[in-house]
Symmetry: C2
Subunit: 286 residues, 2 copies
């Protein structure tokens, strides 16, 4: 596939309302449209941006889910991706038969490229969703190889590694970040620090789109950000409470070359799996 | 082994002088003694703090190396560890026959507990040192399980994982951090961000002791730090250019419990190796 040298990425920080699926979809379309107006070629939406997050029961979560092959959220994003000729990565409450997943869809101008199902479920998500069963797929796009994972997946360095070892150039993170205890004043949120470290240590561009607002007592962090392959923010962190669009143009050619840190060091080739036996203890095998 | 609930850790930020081995050892002893006076039970010294770092030739590096069973640096640290009844983790230029390693020694009041040899060699180190061949050993101490790795090892999330999956409570990082390109003003050094992320994502205490100064044109970062198991600094980052001692008392019992983030999430048990197949591609196996 032809490879662009640059890509304009938008992270859309928005506030979904629990249960208000039609309104959430409409808001996401308006924001994706505004990002496209500003030149975005890839727009990232938050986790579960169609349904909201803090479900009270499995029944409530299930009633808000949709099949990705014919659901109204995915269809709406397919339409705007085709009309505006861009890619959309969005968190969606996915139903597959009697099972629901916390899913990210990857949609291009030609339609649904594929899905990722959240591998590491956070807190009460375990009561509603089944854990992801698709690993970490990576998709070819005109601007390179694109991967996606969701929120708590980013607490696992293996998520970054699995994407990068499949030569992902960009990782999109739809997320609903919640506060971590003990954060000192005037420090970056740990969610941001994990993104910066993951990008730097893997030489990969990362775009994380968070939600804002408080839902049924649960506050969310905002602070969406886009970092370059060195891990430095090029847009954001966004505010803690406002809906907004982060936009940045990323140097893909530079990012691809960036894993070569100097004459002697390639960040990925320097891995020494033969020394990582401790990761292979019984019950711990990778 | 009896387990203390707290431990007082010192990170010693110092400036070794290339080739001035006796003076470097003397300075390290003075600083370890000062840390012991302030209550330190574990003192961490920088990478290659006996020999200096920027060697011009393999011969120069080799001439400054010592066998850990009888070298003068290790003997000196053994003496002070016994006298002051503390643990010392220090970077040493290790000779083993015709081979030299960039090594960290773990020394307790009873003598040498063991060694770690740097697994991931940085830049021109590859011209002088052999890569570590001991994996990531973890040592029992009165204050819990202690691991160590060195500088660029911290760029590999596998280093943290290998230590933590062997139930390390504390990771000591002797280091000689160099600047990473592109750092914006008023941002933490990426070396600090990697420590914070590694500690948080593994629920492990981390103490990183860096050197300062410029040696043969190579500047070093300083900015040593001690972080708790949530990844938040409890001492440092230290200055960019001064020799100093960071001291902090860490809550070991809290750290051990901290991997349980909520009723549903244990940071280590939540790993899903069955989903990490991408880490097992040919030539990439863990």
């Amino acid at each position: 596939m032809a490879q662009q040298r640059e890509v304009c990425i938008a992270c859309i920080q928005m506030e979904p309302v629990i249960g208000a699926k039609d309104a959430n979809i409409a808001k996401s379309l308006a924001l994706v449209g505004a990002a496209a107006d500003r030149g975005a070629q890839l727009a990232v939406l938050p986790e579960l941006c169609d349904s909201g997050y803090v479900f009270e029961t499995k029944e409530e979560a299930f009633a808000l889910a949709e099949e990705v092959t014919r659901g109204k959220a995915v269809r709406a994003w397919q339409d705007i991706a085709a009309e505006r000729s861009l890619f959309v990565v969005a968190g969606v409450n996915e139903r597959d038969g009697d099972t629901i997943y916390n899913t990210a869809v990857v949609i291009g101008p030609a339609g649904l490229a594929g899905i990722f199902r959240k591998v590491h479920l956070w807190d009460r998500e375990n009561l509603f969703f089944s854990p992801g069963n698709l690993g970490f797929p990576v998709f070819d796009t005109p601007f390179g190889r694109l991967a996606t994972f969701i929120c708590y997946d980013g607490w696992f360095s293996e998520s970054y590694r699995c994407c990068r070892l499949q030569e992902a150039d960009i990782i999109c993170i739809p997320t609903n970040w919640v506060p971590m205890p003990g954060q000192p004043d005037n420090t970056l949120a740990m969610a941001n620090i994990l993104v910066m470290a993951g990008a730097h240590a893997n030489s990969v561009i990362v775009a994380a789109a968070d939600r804002v607002g408080t839902e049924r007592g649960q506050p969310f962090l905002g602070q969406s950000l886009i970092v370059n392959h060195m891990g430095w923010p090029v847009a954001g962190p966004a505010s803690r409470d406002a809906e907004e669009i982060l936009l940045a143009t990323l140097d893909l050619a530079g990012a691809r070359a960036g894993r070569q840190l100097n004459e002697h060091n390639d960040l990925l080739q320097n891995r020494r799996p033969g020394m990582y036996g401790a990761m292979l203890r019984p019950g711990m095998s990778v």
